[in-house]
């Protein structure tokens, strides 16, 4: 018995590892089998009966294919050698239409007020596999609506199709066992466990995986119809896990953040804190133009003047200068590459280290949360923002040098320098000893109040880049929003500073930077380095596609 089996699905041959479910094998040859209860991130339950197909097993003794005695659900049936699967026969189509009919008889069909409408599997499958009028002439069964499950989730029992994805999630993934299905038959409803507040960090995932609008998020409730949303691949910066996400935005605002499947980083899920990160992003204080506190430049210098001045100050430090560069674990790998070059090569071995921008956050747990609340420490270090080998000073040493008045030019990226001092006042006192402080930041903080030059940089939602998580997996985030004011892309800005300082940037283009960092530069980054964000085939009917993690 080999580990691989070969089977035929709709006439297409496919070889998969033994133990693969037929529904997954079919996906590999581009055959989408409709389903509700099946989810690749959860144990199989097989209760929706939507994925029934004509599965014929090979009987070696009779040398014949035999159809299954009862129609098989492909989400549970293992692929077998020489198996034949037909997913588009009339019987299979009828079976799907039948299941759809049963699912819909007691469904309230309140799509107009349902937040899931537009990315609802029930809608999609109805369009594709049923499309009939309801034959029900009796009254529908009524169940509790608007039942809060904790503070973040609202349950609507009438919409629920009892696929048990949510209960399986709480039972097997978050292992909190908050949800269960009580009662029998068509009286069954999902219930929150008595006394449970359903306030763990992963509750919103049950809304993502809910194939219908039974579980909706209070955060997204009534906010926006999903077909108005644009989806941009992004990465969560809440901790060093770097969950791959999709930023759903409409016009200039992010409306919600959803997880994107990437098996080696975050699987299918993400935490609630990561979803809420857009709120803190919107709350940051930004500057729309460079701010200067030196007389030569005036209060509001142009970018050209500011860069020329900053480059000149850095350029002065070329020969054995007193330049200290403090990077940030929120930089992208490409920016870190250029910053390392600027400090190490252009300005001849300046003192260089990274700080902790964010020190507070949610405690680590077994599922996704990590201890480090900055996204890219590993990547920035790998890209070369490290204390130099010769005469290199780490952050503590740089702080000492600042206190001793040895540092003449201090270049800081990002916020949070005060985290390394006892208080903001202490930081101000220390920094006052440095003649030139240049801060490149996407948010204003205590340092911005005293720095000689503050240059606005785009934040993660406004620029392209890659982050590398603590396990070494690189993820790419993309530009979702229009930049705030004149804020500049960090990579371009640092390259320009290299030039202004009299040197040359290490790479010319963003792509070259990726090549230099050896992050699959030649292949399509979206498919290889990032989590795949696959859409269900039927979900591209009219200017919408799914924002769920569903595969």
């Amino acid at each position: 018995m080999s580990d691989q089996v070969t089977l035929t699905i709709d006439g297409k041959e496919v070889t998969v590892p033994r133990g693969t479910k037929v529904i997954e094998a079919a996906k590999q040859v581009g055959v989408e089998i409709p389903h509700f209860c099946y989810h690749p991130g959860l144990p199989v339950d097989g209760n929706c009966r939507m994925c029934i197909a004509d599965v014929r097993t090979w009987n070696a003794r009779a040398e014949k294919h035999f159809p299954a005695r009862r129609p098989a659900v492909t989400c549970w049936t293992d692929a077998e050698e020489n198996m034949q699967v037909f997913t588009d026969t009339d019987e299979v189509k009828k079976s799907r239409a039948t299941v759809m009919e049963f699912l819909l008889i007691n469904h309230p069909i309140d799509c107009p007020i349902c937040d899931k409408a537009g990315e609802c599997m029930l809608q999609d499958h109805y369009m594709q596999h049923d499309g009939k009028r309801s034959e029900l002439r009796e009254e529908k069964i009524h169940k509790p609506r608007l039942k809060p499950f904790g503070e973040r989730i609202v349950y609507n029992g009438e919409r629920c199709i009892l696929c048990s994805r949510c209960t399986r999630f709480t039972a097997h993934v978050s292992k909190t066992h908050d949800l269960g299905i009580v009662n029998r038959g068509d009286r069954a409803v999902v219930e929150l466990a008595q006394g449970s507040t359903f306030d763990n960090a992963y509750t919103d995932n049950v809304s993502d995986i809910c194939p219908v609008g039974a579980l909706t998020k209070t955060d997204f409730r009534f906010k926006k119809r999903v077909w108005f949303l644009k989806h941009t691949d992004s990465v969560c910066g809440g901790c060093s896990r770097n969950c791959n996400t999709v930023v759903d935005h409409d016009r200039a605002e992010i409306v919600r953040i959803m997880p994107r499947r990437r098996d080696e980083v975050n699987g299918h899920f993400m935490c609630n804190e990561g979803r809420d990160i857009y709120k803190s992003l919107a709350a940051t204080v930004r500057t729309s133009a460079p701010i200067s506190r030196v007389d030569e430049l005036g209060a509001g210098p142009s970018w050209d003047d500011a860069l020329a001045w900053a480059g000149g100050k850095l350029g002065e430090q070329k020969k054995g200068g007193k330049l200290a560069v403090i990077g940030s674990p929120w930089m992208s790998n490409e920016e870190a590459l250029v910053l390392g070059h600027l400090a190490g090569k252009v300005c001849k071995s300046a003192w260089m280290d990274i700080k902790n921008d964010v020190i507070e956050g949610y405690p680590a747990d077994d599922l996704l949360h990590t201890d480090d609340h900055n996204p890219n420490r590993a990547g920035v270090i790998a890209a070369g923002v490290v204390p130099g080998k010769k005469d290199g000073k780490d952050l503590a040493a740089i702080q000492e040098a600042i206190a001793a008045g040895e540092v003449e030019v201090l270049l800081v990226w990002g916020t949070g320098l005060a985290n390394h001092y006892d208080s903001v006042e202490a930081m101000h006192e220390a920094v006052a000893k440095v003649p030139v402080v240049i801060q490149l930041t996407d948010a204003m903080d205590a340092l911005s109040e005293v720095a000689q030059l503050v240059l606005p940089v785009r934040n993660w939602a406004e620029r392209d880049g890659t982050w590398t998580n603590f396990e070494g997996h690189t993820s790419r985030f993309r530009k979702a929003l229009r930049p705030h004011g004149q804020a500049r892309d960090g990579f371009e800005l640092l390259s320009a500073m290299c030039t202004a300082a009299g040197g040359k940037p290490p790479v010319k283009t963003f792509k070259d930077a990726r090549k230099k960092l050896k992050q699959d530069p030649d292949s399509d980054v979206r498919e290889v380095a990032d989590g795949e964000f696959a859409f269900y085939k039927g979900q591209s009917l009219y200017r919408h596609h799914s924002g769920t993690t569903e595969v």
């Binding site: 939507m50 169940k143 009286r187 069954a188």
Partner: protein, 460 residues
């Protein structure tokens, strides 16, 4: 041995006791030769190996008495050669099929034969533990079984090292909570494990992955009790009754407007006509036979003409478009409204659907509502076809067979008694109102009404 029960042949397999006496204590069973078979088998004299006994059971042609009729010996042989853990035997005493009450008689009147059968079966499949899962409503049966097991432990017929043979067998009596779905073997297993009684998706079958994940054999009470006889008398002796494919005797629980309803043990292949006339004393005066449900509520109904042609075995039932099922013979007399009968059945299935699979969860409630509407006279002409179509759609699309069990009678009722359904629609009411003989009082009072609050419709 004299009995009120009419028997075929002297050696009754299952009802081998005198009716009206205290047949359930160990002492009574011992007088009937109880535990002698176990002793002889366990001490090694009778069969060379457990496989021999499995072979004998196979050769006896014993088919599962729970309803499906799967050969018991064959089922035993499906156990893996290298089991992943201790093999478990589960006796399915969750007898909740409407119209069936045969296992109750065994457990109440002859519990030790079941226990002996458990010991023998455990020996045959090399298991050390046996669970008897009894329906929660069978309180007297549970009491008697518990008492009987205690007696058997005390007398050394159960427990460690029985009769010094080195064979250990523990029997646990488990009381269910009265859910129909727990009569399905995987649902029973789930319930036995302490979970919500919902059928598991198959494969793996219980023989590979059953109770607590161990290889498990689930058998009906009647089958296990019959094993005692087969182990004692051999396959040929058992085959003296019945037909080629349906060997042995079978209990039939007859209910309905007959003179003597009850449980009768007859050989397979015994004509229904004889069962009705001889054993049950014929139909009640003034009531003619209208229809017959031969094997519990789940099987298709047949009309009187066909019913009188049926012999009580698997093949004859199949020839007459029905199934033998569990042997719960429901006799339906003239004057009974078939729509109301179906409605009653479907209320049961709607109530008992576990709610796991979509077609069953939604379909049982739907067809019940349609039939209720037909019965109340609110239906339209297309509703019969609609009903048939829904029932047809429910069939074979679920994990377990509960949906089929609801669909088959629905379809057969329409096929056989379509004119009655149409009469309901044409007249706008039930045409059978007040047509029963008053003394029968077979109908409850008032018109059937759906409960206003469906969530509490069937709970109170």
């Amino acid at each position: 041995m004299e009995s009120n029960y009419p028997v075929k042949g002297k050696d009754q397999v299952l009802l081998n006791f005198e009716r009206g006496t205290e047949s359930w204590p160990l002492s009574s069973y011992l007088t009937r030769g109880g535990y002698s078979t176990a002793k002889s088998v366990l001490s090694g004299g009778k069969y060379d190996s457990p496989a021999d006994l499995v072979g004998v059971v196979k050769a006896s042609g014993l088919r599962g008495r729970g309803g499906a009729g799967f050969p018991t010996g064959l089922k035993w042989s499906f156990l893996p050669k290298e089991p992943s853990g201790p093999i478990q035997l589960v006796v399915n005493a969750d007898e909740s099929e409407p119209g069936t009450f045969k296992d109750r008689v065994i457990m109440e009147e002859n519990p030790h034969q079941l226990i002996e059968g458990c010991v023998l079966s455990c020996w045959a499949i090399e298991s050390a533990s046996c669970y008897i899962y009894i329906r929660g409503e069978y309180v007297p049966a549970i009491k008697r079984m518990v008492a009987a097991v205690d007696e058997a432990y005390a007398a050394g017929h159960l427990g460690e090292d029985i009769y010094g043979s080195g064979f250990t067998c523990h029997v646990t009596v488990h009381s269910g909570a009265g859910a129909y779905i727990c009569g399905e073997e995987t649902g029973l297993i789930e319930s036995l494990e302490g979970k919500k009684g919902q059928p598991r998706i198959k494969p793996p079958f219980p023989a590979v992955y059953g109770v607590f994940g161990y290889p498990t054999i689930v058998n009906n009470v009647e089958s296990i009790a019959a094993v005692t006889y087969i182990a004692h008398a051999g396959a040929d002796s058992y085959r003296q009754w019945g037909t080629e494919k349906s060997a042995g005797t079978k209990l039939f629980s007859v209910s309905g407007p007959v003179k003597r309803p009850g449980v009768y043990e007859v050989a397979m292949g015994y004509p229904f006509k004889d069962l009705l006339e001889n054993e049950c004393g014929g139909m009640l005066d003034g009531v003619a036979l209208k229809a017959l449900i031969v094997g519990g509520s789940s099987v298709p109904v047949v009309n009187a003409e066909k019913a009188l042609k049926i012999n009580m075995d698997y093949e004859s039932c199949a020839e007459n478009d029905t199934l033998l099922g569990s042997g719960g013979v429901i006799v339906i007399g003239e004057g009974t409204c078939m729509v109301r009968t179906l409605m009653t059945l479907l209320r049961f299935y709607h109530h008992e659907s576990c709610g796991q699979c979509t077609p069953c969860r939604e379909g049982t409630g739907w067809i019940e509502r349609i039939v209720t509407r037909i019965e109340n006279g609110d239906a339209r002409s297309g509703d019969i076809d609609e009903l048939y179509r829904i029932a047809d759609n429910m069939e074979l699309r679920t994990i377990c067979t509960l949906a089929d069990a609801a669909a088959w009678p629905t379809k057969s009722f329409i096929e056989v008694f379509r004119d009655e359904f149409e009469a309901h629609i044409e007249q706008g009411k039930c045409p059978h109102d007040n047509q029963f003989p008053d003394h029968l009082n077979l109908r409850g009072g008032g018109k059937p009404q759906r409960h206003a609050d469906p969530e509490h419709a069937f709970i109170a």
